[in-house]
């Protein structure tokens, strides 16, 4: 007889289940499954391997209600604020408190109360955070990226308000055959408010299409910011994604990527700059299901004060995915004795003719480099900032678009300047 361990539900879990019991949401198979999952398993926690280092049961103290009070005033107020980053010539797609508000520019956008969101099935239906998202998400915003010329899209998520709330935006981005698109995704919200967001973005990238995705997280300092990217790549598709994580009290960015056709090219990168008691997690699964694909993952963390970083990277190579070329690297600089980093690289290789490697480093700033800079007259604080900027910069360099790269480096420098001040 299997022993069933009954865990006591946390107040957040109680609140979530009570809210789901109220009803008022459309019944779909996906939602029913998600709700059943939440009932059975509760929030993802340290007993679930993928969530071992980011225990939502502990980190999610409460479950604020989904934001409903959309008014014209609210939208006007949101539009009066600035985005985390700006991009010239972009089709601007604005989300306020998780809901699609408007878009400008040449792009086909459909926002609808969807039927069954995951009818086709996906690789992350079992994820606890995705279940939570699906239990509450209402609408789906679908973007269709046309072929021919290069499209530039700015997904601008702004949170505003004075009371805690939660949001569950859902996007589907269809990149048709041969299309080429740059997608900037920015998140910005108020400080001192314990709001919770989870953006679930699903990319379907057709053959020979090219996507560059850049994400900037500047959520408020008390926010819980979850993010899930689901990516399916057809043959010869190229997908590059970079994430700069600066904000939020607790952040988790997860990527579930599958290469479904041959010769797909994948580049995932990120920089996380953490201080105070911030917790930031990047968890990715790159699933090579077709032969001759290439993937590169390159992540850098700078962790100060009592902050915690998490990197979990898993590369899976299916039996038929011969000639896969995979390389993963995660590097961390810890700036204080109380900063922490958890690194978990994993390779699951079932094919015999592949090149796959991973490396993880964790340490303090290099003393030789520091002394060299000091000996040339650069004062300690400035020397540290110079080295840290360079360290983060090597990750930012993975971003192809120069306009974005420059703005990302400005943010890195701002972060470092605050460090020197304090």
């Amino acid at each position: 007889m299997a022993v069933q361990l009954q865990t006591v539900r946390t107040p957040a879990e109680e609140a979530i289940l009570a809210r789901l019991a109220e009803g008022g949401r459309r019944h779909t198979q996906t939602r029913e499954k998600a709700v059943a999952r939440l009932r059975a398993n509760g929030l993802p926690n340290r007993r679930v391997e993928a969530w071992h280092y980011t225990d939502l049961r502990t980190l999610m103290r409460d479950a604020p209600p989904p934001f409903e009070a959309f008014t014209d005033d609210l939208v006007a107020q949101a539009m009066g604020q600035s985005a985390a980053l700006s991009l010239k010539d972009a089709a601007h797609v604005l989300f306020v408190n998780g809901r699609f508000v408007r878009h400008a520019g040449a792009l086909e956008v459909v926002d609808a109360d969807t039927g069954d969101q995951a009818a086709a099935g996906d690789a992350y239906g079992d994820d606890g955070a995705v279940a939570l998202h699906r239990a509450f998400a209402g609408r789906t915003t679908t973007l269709r990226v046309p072929p021919s010329h290069r499209s530039i899209v700015h997904l601008d998520f702004r949170e505003i308000g004075t009371d805690a709330f939660s949001t569950f935006p859902h996007l589907v981005i269809e990149v048709v055959e041969g299309a080429d698109v740059l997608i900037l995704e920015t998140h910005r919200g108020p400080n001192e408010i314990g709001y919770q967001t989870h953006a679930l973005i699903e990319f379907h990238v057709a053959s020979s299409a090219k996507v560059e995705h850049v994400r900037v997280n500047e959520a408020g300092n008390k926010a819980l910011s979850l993010s899930t990217l689901g990516v399916d790549l057809a043959a010869r598709a190229a997908f590059q994604s970079f994430s700069l994580s600066l904000g939020a009290n607790v952040a988790r960015h997860q990527i579930f990527l599958r290469s479904l056709g041959e010769h797909a090219k994948i580049g995932l990168a990120g920089a996380s700059l953490l201080r105070g008691r911030q917790h930031a997690d990047t968890t990715l699964v790159v699933d090579h299901t077709a032969p001759r694909c290439q993937s590169r993952e390159f992540y850098r963390y700078i962790v100060d004060d009592m902050a915690t970083g998490v990197f979990q990277g898993k590369i899976v190579v299916a039996p038929n995915a011969q000639k896969t070329d995979g390389g993963m690297k995660s590097q961390t600089i810890l700036l204080s004795d109380t900063a922490a980093m958890n690194n978990k690289p994993e390779l699951e290789i079932f094919a015999d003719d592949v090149i796959c490697g991973h490396g993880a480093t964790c340490g303090s700033l290099n003393e030789n480099q520091l002394f060299y800079a000091h000996a040339r007259g650069i004062p300690p604080a400035e020397a540290e900032a110079l080295l840290l900027e360079a360290f983060a910069g090597e990750a930012v360099d993975r971003v192809g678009d120069e306009q974005i790269r420059e703005q990302l480096m400005d943010k890195v420098r701002d972060w470092l300047a605050q460090r020197v001040k304090s």
């Binding site: 480099q369 800079a373 000091h374 000996a375 040339r376 004062p379 110079l386 080295l387 900027e389 360079a390």
Partner: protein, 249 residues
């Protein structure tokens, strides 16, 4: 002028410098020669202020000021320059950004106006041309992927730009072929001036054919055991260090 008086220093409890005394006047080029392990590099690090060494006794004066209490960057701002035996690679920091940061940090520390980018570039280009340092090298990350000769040329370029009052060259000839040795030596000779002294640390006479010293000191077991003119270097080249070391022991 650099004056070192009775300097004792150790690392991890191991004594390396044992009462070293040495004076290098303005305008003078002094060479220090000595066998491996005699403490030559330690001397350069201690004078530059590397924190893993502990000074247990003695004083180091730069133009009359005891610099031992100063952190390395302040020693640099007061005009001390150390050309490293092994220049450090700094990935992600382009060479010209590093140079500008260093120069402006020193200027700021001395209360001088920081150089604007255009002014700096002009200065840097002029110095780089002389040392056959290409613009391409200046755009690359500092010392990353540079050959031994390129690294040493870049050290001299930095010294040229920072225009120190006193330069210490720590085995600047190591890893150089004949041509690179000449370029580097010419760069140093160009910087010789009545108000600037040099301490040239080397294993071999070879470098001293190009950078002609006024005085030669022999170092063994952490102190200077003999001082002479340029002829002393030739004598060492012929007979080796054995006699001196035996005397010192």
């Amino acid at each position: 002028m650099l004056e070192i008086r009775n300097l004792h220093a150790e690392i991890d409890g191991k004594k390396i410098l044992n009462g070293l005394t040495l004076t290098v006047k303005d305008g003078e080029v002094a060479a220090i020669m000595g066998p491996n392990g005699s403490g030559k590099s330690t001397l350069s690090y201690v004078v530059a202020g590397r924190s893993d060494y502990t000074v247990t006794a003695g004083e180091v004066f730069l133009n009359g000021e005891n610099i031992l209490e100063l952190p390395p960057h302040e020693r640099a701002a007061r005009g001390l320059f150390l050309a490293f035996q092994y220049p450090v690679e700094i990935p992600g920091v382009t060479t010209h950004v590093f140079l500008r940061t260093a120069l402006n940090a020193q200027r700021k520390a001395r209360g001088e106006a920081e150089l604007k980018t255009a002014e700096f570039m002009k200065l840097m280009r002029a110095a780089a041309d002389k040392l056959s340092v290409t613009q391409e090298m200046l755009r690359r990350p500092l010392n990353v992927g540079f050959s031994g000769g390129e690294k040493k040329r870049l050290e001299i370029l930095q010294m040229t730009l920072l225009a120190p009052k006193f330069g210490i060259l720590d085995e600047t000839d190591s890893g150089l072929d004949i041509d690179a040795l000449r370029v580097v030596s010419d760069g140093v000779n160009d910087l010789r001036a009545p108000d600037r002294g040099f301490l040239v640390i080397t294993h071999y006479q070879r470098l001293l054919d190009h950078i002609k010293p006024d005085t030669v000191h022999v170092m063994a077991q952490g102190r200077i055991i003999k001082t002479g003119g340029p002829e002393l270097a030739l004598e060492l080249e012929k007979n080796g260090y054995r006699d001196f070391v035996a005397d010192a022991a």
